[in-house]
């Protein structure tokens, strides 16, 4: 009897959930029908390529060795994680992201705070600071590459002209591993800080002036007002901007591809550049895709933090 009861309970429960589902779909048939084309479109251009891409990561697949294509399970991932070059590329990616996002936030914060003041010509400064972000990245990076040229670049030429650099011993910005990484971080920061500035400015202008006035009346110094009023209020937006920048910087293939080519001696080769070389230069689609999937997983982790923070902010507001 007991046995019969335990069997019939799930069966009834399943029946009722099926009924609920039927009722749900009959009630919302029209909305589902309306979003169906979008879903199909998304499936065709997003989910299908993503699925194919991920499946490639589990194969040995080289375009010019079609006869050798085979399923290798996690072989590509194991090979990647055991590779010294991949570990170095991950370190490089981490250093780049930390440096570029960190400095661009600091610079953006500083510029935002300054341009939030009532200074003459503020609009002009705001517009001018946006120029790095308006410029197409490839053009900007090529220009920087020329400016950083050791013998003929504007930067060394200027330093030579004012006597800071020996003309016969120029600074080799892109040929020394440490300086090349510094150059990458400087150029990346230059390109990205306007976004941070805009975000900070937006957050700053949402802070009611009364809060600052009240704090000032209470005798708070400018530093105290920034620490206890301004910064806590722009922090949520800042965190989201930092996360977004981290994702974009991690996936910024053009910066190192154009500026340093990943060198010297792989010192500026991030994971995304390594994935490109494997897939499109060596035609090693399987391994290149595995590297891209590793990158995707890391970015999904950052993305999930971003989504959680955004949801919390929406709940708070």
């Amino acid at each position: 009897m007991q046995h019969a009861t335990t069997l019939s309970q799930p069966s009834a429960s399943a029946e009722s959930s099926r009924a609920r589902l039927r009722a749900h779909f009959s009630k919302y048939a029209l909305p589902y029908l309306l979003i169906l084309p979008s879903l199909l479109f998304l499936a065709a251009i997003e989910f299908y390529p993503l699925g194919v891409g991920i499946s490639e990561a589990f194969k040995y697949h080289n375009r010019v060795q079609p006869w050798a294509t085979r399923f290798v399970g996690f072989g590509n991932f194991i090979q990647a994680l055991q590779s010294h070059d991949v570990r170095q590329a991950l370190r490089t990616s981490f250093v780049m992201v930390t440096g570029i996002v960190g400095f661009s936030y600091l610079l953006g914060l500083l510029a935002g705070l300054l341009l939030n003041q009532k200074v003459r010509g503020r609009s002009i400064y705001r517009a001018l600071i946006l120029v790095p972000w308006i410029a197409p990245p490839i053009m900007a990076y090529i220009s920087w590459q020329w400016m950083l040229n050791d013998q003929l670049g504007t930067i060394n030429r200027t330093l030579m002209a004012i006597g800071l650099v020996d003309p016969f011993d120029p600074i080799i910005w892109l040929a020394d591993p440490a300086l090349a990484m510094l150059s990458v971080i400087v150029v990346g920061t230059w390109f990205r800080f306007p976004f941070m500035m805009i975000t900070v400015l937006a957050a700053l202008s949402a802070i009611p002036d009364e809060l600052h006035e009240a704090a000032a009346l209470d005798g708070a110094t400018a530093m105290q007002r920034f620490r206890d009023v301004t910064f806590p209020l722009i922090l949520p937006v800042s965190i989201i901007a930092i996360l977004l920048q981290a994702i974009w910087t991690f996936n910024d293939f053009a910066l190192t591809f154009v500026l340093t080519g990943g060198g010297p001696a792989n010192a500026t080769t991030p994971l995304i550049l390594m994935a490109y070389r494997e897939a499109f230069q060596r035609f090693n689609i399987g391994y290149g895709t595995a590297l891209a999937v590793i990158s995707l997983v890391l970015m999904l982790a950052l993305g999930s933090v971003y989504l959680r923070l955004q949801a919390r902010q929406e709940a708070d507001s």
């Binding site: 946006l130 490839i138 805009i198 230069q281």
Partner: protein, 516 residues
């Protein structure tokens, strides 16, 4: 390579416009933020010492400021947009060859698609289009449509077209494309064309490497239509002042570079490319490899990077870099090499044939004192005295529905008279595959052109030499030779022996063949 620079500029032009337009929406952001301050307090008046600003006045003020800011932003954006456009307009030369009007296809004409790279200046591309037009005019039953590909993404485009069952009928590409397509079963065997060329004496006029390279795996997947040659340019005046003879061997090259290297005067003994991720960098080492009697693969098609000859070449390059180049060499491509030479900052420069026209145009005084070194004799002896000349092919695709018509077109394009028109369009950028064309007027314009044309037909080979059994592997290395071997060694981060050993291990999977 010239074609790479040219294509990069092309990509820039297009990328700039779309990139700017898609990003300008963001300009609205700071303007919107200004509205957020409407109705704020102004110090000095009111209940708590603050006076509320009249809201209408504030909004009007903000609107005025908004429109001023918008105008400013628009001005900056327009200036940013125009700047490179103006730059380009000044930089571009007027094409010397103007494209002729294309011919409308006859109703029943067989339609062929011909895709090729952006091989050089607008002048050259106009000449290529003119050849196609001329073919269409003289062959009314066949109509060829020419499509230009960018170096930035040509392989993705061709592979996508193949995947979708819609590749071109005929195409050009990099110097290994025909092998890579053959490995994927996409290249048509044109052995019958070779038989015709052998019968009519065409092959006899063709340099050996131009056709031997494509004798692969029992088939002929392509044919060379032009060489892209490398050379050592040197300053005759500096050599003369130093009382040195023109170097003819590695030892003499080293001695000359050491003698002419003068950092105090800002002159490097020799300028070579060394940047990671660049196709330019490995070309100097490969020149040395060939002259040392080495190669990428052995006669059986196995990878043979880690060979004594290749090691000797690498050690020689490392020694040259250490003693006689600018410190920034590991970040240099041919662009920097050429600029350094033109500005009098290098006594010897390793570069491509396009250097000749560039030096002539931009540094006429230096051009007068420039010579091309004879092909150097290295450890491989006279037999191995080679220069790197990339043999760039045309090929027909297996999926074509009109193989016979495609062959008619290819045969016509390969006629010496038609190739000559292309070589003339951009002197020094393309080198002849026919020995008879060495005497063409275009190669008699100056002694540099004459010398390099001679070296190309007598000594020019590329990475697939001395055999092409490993053709597919060699064609799929990308910038591996640069990234794994040359750049790490010249920066002092890897010992030559270790770099070669690691490269051997890492690249071996690319050289697998079905039978292994």
């Amino acid at each position: 390579m010239t074609q790479k620079f040219a294509s990069r500029r092309h990509a820039l032009d297009h990328g700039f416009l779309t990139g700017t337009l898609t990003q300008t929406w963001i300009l609205a952001l700071p303007c919107k933020r200004l509205h957020g301050n409407a109705g704020r307090m102004e110090p000095g008046r009111g209940r708590t010492g603050f006076r509320p600003i009249d809201k209408e006045v504030a909004v009007t003020n903000l609107k005025v400021r908004h429109s001023q800011l918008q105008r400013l932003i628009a001005l900056v954006a327009v200036l940013a947009l125009l700047f490179p456009v103006i730059g380009r307009a000044q930089e571009e030369e007027e094409p010397q060859v103007t494209p002729e009007p294309t011919v409308a296809p006859a109703e029943d004409a067989v339609q062929l698609q011909y895709w090729d790279m952006q091989w050089g200046s607008p002048t050259f591309m106009a000449a290529l289009q003119n050849n196609v037009t001329e073919f269409n005019r003289t062959h009314p039953d066949i109509h060829v449509t020419f499509t230009q590909l960018s170096w930035a993404d040509y392989m993705q485009k061709i592979l996508s077209a193949i995947q979708s069952g819609n590749p071109p009928d005929i195409s050009g590409g990099d110097s290994g494309i025909a092998f890579n397509m053959a490995a994927q079963g996409q290249a048509l065997d044109i052995s019958d064309l070779y038989a015709e060329w052998e019968a009519d004496g065409t092959l006899e006029d063709m340099t050996d490497w131009a056709h031997e390279k494509w004798d692969w795996n029992g088939m002929r997947p392509g044919v060379t239509w032009q060489f892209d040659s490398r050379a050592f340019f040197y300053r005759k005046d500096l050599l003369e002042q130093a009382g040195l003879e023109v170097p003819t061997t590695w030892d003499e090259l080293m001695a000359a570079a050491q003698a002419l290297h003068n950092p105090e005067e800002g002159i490097a003994g020799i300028a070579i490319p060394g940047k990671q991720g660049s196709y330019d960098t490995d070309q100097f080492w490969m020149t040395l490899v060939l002259q040392a009697g080495g190669g990428i693969a052995d006669a059986e098609g196995n990878l043979a990077i880690d060979s004594p000859a290749n090691l000797e070449a690498l050690q020689f390059e490392k020694a040259l870099v250490d003693c006689c180049t600018a410190r920034g060499t590991p970040s240099w491509t041919f662009t920097e090499v050429l600029r350094a030479y033109e500005q009098g900052q290098a006594a010897i420069a390793f570069g491509g044939g396009w250097f000749i026209a560039d030096i002539q145009q931009n540094a006429p005084e230096i051009f007068e004192n420039t010579g091309i070194l004879p092909v150097l004799v290295g450890p491989g002896g006279e037999e191995a005295a080679h220069i790197v000349s990339f043999a760039n092919p045309w090929m027909i695709y297996n999926q074509t529905e009109h193989p016979e018509e495609a062959k008619v077109f290819l045969r016509w394009m390969m006629e010496p008279e038609n190739l000559r028109k292309l070589y003339e369009a951009e002197p020094g950028a393309k080198w002849p595959v026919y020995e008879s064309l060495v005497d063409a007027p275009v190669y008699q314009e100056n002694e540099l052109l004459t010398e390099l044309a001679r070296q190309t037909v007598e000594n020019g080979v590329d990475y697939w030499y001395p055999n092409n059994a490993a053709a597919v592997g060699i064609g799929s290395m990308g910038t591996s030779l640069t990234d794994l071997i040359v750049n790490p060694v010249i920066t002092g981060n890897r010992a030559p022996e270790d770099a070669l050993r690691d490269a051997q291990a890492q690249l071996e999977p690319l050289f697998q063949r079905p039978e292994s």
